[in-house]
């Protein structure tokens, strides 16, 4: 039972990750794919930050009279990863805009059809 209580947090985060992953690989709409990637990445960030949590700790800003802090290292990694994620999202969306201009659609299946015709 304690096994279950100690890990259910991670399990929910895994469900969140898989929701994003599913959107990416199952949906033919390109915007939805980018959004799926965004959700997938954000959920991975939640996973990392969950690792960093220490029971009874506070934010890792050193202050008098506090001895237990949460782990700062995953925070740093995720700060970096958030920015990387935004860069990916921006680039992906820019590509979507250009694809729409070139093909007139942002549906992957329709794009395949157009590519096959040529």
């Amino acid at each position: 039972m304690s096994e279950l209580l100690g890990h259910y947090n991670y399990w929910i985060v895994i469900v969140l990750m898989m929701t994003g992953f599913y959107i990416v690989i199952a949906r033919p709409n390109l915007i939805k794919k980018v959004i799926g990637l965004f959700i997938f990445q954000t959920s991975v960030f939640i996973f990392f930050i969950s690792i960093a949590k220490v029971e009874g700790g506070t934010a890792p800003i050193i202050e008098e009279g506090i001895s237990v802090y949460s782990n700062p290292l995953p925070h740093v990694l995720i700060l970096t990863a958030i920015v990387v994620g935004l860069a990916t999202t921006a680039l992906g969306l820019a590509l979507v805009v250009r694809i729409r201009e070139a093909y007139g659609t942002i549906n992957e299946d329709d794009i395949h059809v157009q590519d096959e015709e040529r």
């Binding site: 990750m17 992953f21 990416v24 690989i25 390109l30 794919k33 990637l37 997938f40 990445q41 991975v44 996973f47 990392f48 690792i51 290292l73 995953p74 990694l77 970096t80 990863a81 990387v84 860069a87 990916t88 680039l91 992906g92 590509l95 979507v96 250009r98 694809i99 070139a102 093909y103 794009i111 590519d115």
Partner: protein, 494 residues
């Protein structure tokens, strides 16, 4: 004094000159800037290889923080070989780019092209020299993002969809790597790869570490286009600008393979990767499938660039095959093929770039009788093709010789047969091009084209020359590769 800072300069130089390149208004200036930097990078790479050969593994603590606390740059023989590959290809490809980019990319984009090229170069070099698992992810993303941009600059609209497809798959791969790194950190408390490997011995037999291993392996396999995760590669190589295809075919996937080597041997160790997780058998199977299936698909392609892209997937199979043997000879053979294939594929794509410059197409049907009009270009293509098949006196022969030898030593004789079969398939698809270019008459109304300019032919022929040199005297490459493989195996055995 400067020589101690070479590992940092190797990466920071192209990284810091990319913004400068963005500010240069004239395309020629941006090109000149990128060219100078790429040659400097090559010079640094050569010096580093000498240093590593003289003193052994180099470690450079960035910010002077001791290893697990700060980020460490770590170069051993295997890393030095990879740096040399990436830097060489970068330096050879850029002179070619001047003319080719002028034609294939709109003028206002060329400054951005060189910016992204330098960023990609910095990213790839950063991946190779870093000793830190998370830093690897960051530089992986630098190289990936810049490569999405470089691919999307191709001249047809399909370049956009190819870039998007690569972006989606690449990001999934990177996120998988991130998950794996997170799991590793969770159980070891460190991000330095050597440090992880030391602390891993206590916790290796946990389900968490097994899953971490699976995730990083799958993530990296997407990046290196291991069959069947190669789906992004054919489109990306076909629709990217010629220079970009040449650069990526020689470097991007190869760096992915290097990361895989680091993971299997340095981080997880042979005992875990190959004995407990059976990654050798899985990789061998996938590699064999890649060699056969991708070569077969290549035969039926009418776009020569696409043909070469599928051939790349097959050749990655060869390299992985060598690694999957997990023996010193096997890994060395894989690395030799990695080096040789980088040279060959780059030369082949460069000659296609010459053809594209003159013809505006790389479709097989447009290449009828081309050999009479562009003799030097086609000769370069044929020379590269021969090496791809693995004829004696070419570098391809050397690497296949070592591969077959390693497979036979370990008693995998069916693999040797497969290598020969796959070479036969290579012979068929190369022959299709040769037959069209040399023995068919050009159709009526086909444009009368001139030979490609020297600035583009020289880089291609330089690589072809190196290829024949290795074909005759492979002692240097094979020496470095065997030394590197020895170090990897030593790290892997524990």
């Amino acid at each position: 004094m400067l020589s101690t800072h070479l590992p940092a300069l190797q990466v920071v130089l192209p990284l810091a000159s990319a913004p400068v390149c963005l500010l240069l208004r004239h395309p020629r200036h941006a090109w000149a800037c990128a060219l100078t930097i790429s040659w400097l990078v090559l010079a640094i790479a050569v010096m580093l290889v000498q240093q590593v050969a003289a003193t052994g593994t180099i470690s450079y603590a960035i910010g002077a923080w001791a290893t697990p606390w700060g980020i460490e740059y770590r170069i051993d023989m295997a890393g030095a070989l990879m740096i040399l590959v990436v830097a060489t290809i970068g330096a050879v490809v850029l002179p070619f780019a001047g003319r080719s980019i002028q034609q294939e990319i709109r003028k206002k984009h060329s400054g951005l092209f060189y910016t992204c090229f330098l960023l990609c170069l910095a990213g790839l070099l950063g991946i190779v020299v870093t000793g830190d698992a998370f830093n690897l992810f960051v530089f992986l993303e630098i190289s990936s993002l810049s490569s999405y941009v470089l691919i999307s600059l191709g001249c047809t609209r399909r370049a956009l969809t190819a870039a998007f497809q690569y972006l989606v798959m690449g990001t999934i791969g990177a996120t998988f790597i991130l998950i794996g790194v997170g799991l590793l950190y969770m159980l070891t408390g460190t991000l330095n790869m050597v440090d992880i490997s030391q602390r891993l011995t206590e916790v290796a037999d946990t389900r968490t570490i097994r899953v971490a291993f699976a995730f990083v392996t799958v993530g990296v396999s997407i990046k290196l286009a291991l069959f069947p995760l190669h789906l992004w590669l054919p489109n990306a190589y076909t629709f990217a600008p010629s220079v970009v295809s040449a650069f990526f075919a020689a470097t991007a996937t190869k760096v992915g393979i290097y990361v895989l080597l680091r993971l299997f041997f340095t981080v997880f160790g042979i005992g875990f990767s190959f004995v407990a997780m059976h990654v050798g058998e899985i990789m061998m199977l996938l590699a064999a499938a890649a060699m056969m299936v991708a070569s077969l698909v290549a035969i039926f392609q009418n776009n020569v660039k696409r043909m070469l892209a599928y051939s790349s997937v097959a050749q990655i199979g060869y390299i992985i095959l060598g690694i999957s043997l997990a023996s010193r000879d096997g890994v060395a053979a894989g690395m030799i093929h990695l080096f040789n294939h980088a040279l060959i594929k780059c030369a082949l794509f460069l000659s296609l770039g010459c053809i594209f410059l003159r013809l505006g197409s790389v479709e097989l049907q447009d290449m009828r009788g081309l050999a009479k009009r562009m003799p030097w270009t086609m000769a370069a293509f044929v020379a590269g093709g021969l090496s791809l098949i693995g004829l004696p006196l070419t570098s391809g022969f050397i690497s296949k010789w070592y591969l077959v030898g390693a497979a036979l030593t370990d008693g995998y004789w069916p693999l040797a047969v497969l290598i020969l079969l796959s070479s036969l398939l290579a012979l068929i698809y190369i022959w299709r091009v040769v037959e069209t270019a040399y023995f068919q008459v050009p159709g009526a109304g086909m444009p009368l084209v001139k030979e490609a300019p020297a600035s583009m032919l020289i880089p291609a022929w330089l690589l072809i020359g190196a290829n024949f040199y290795i074909g005759v005297d492979a002692s240097l490459v094979s020496g470095i590769a065997h030394q590197a493989a020895g170090i990897l195996i030593e790290q892997g055995v524990r």
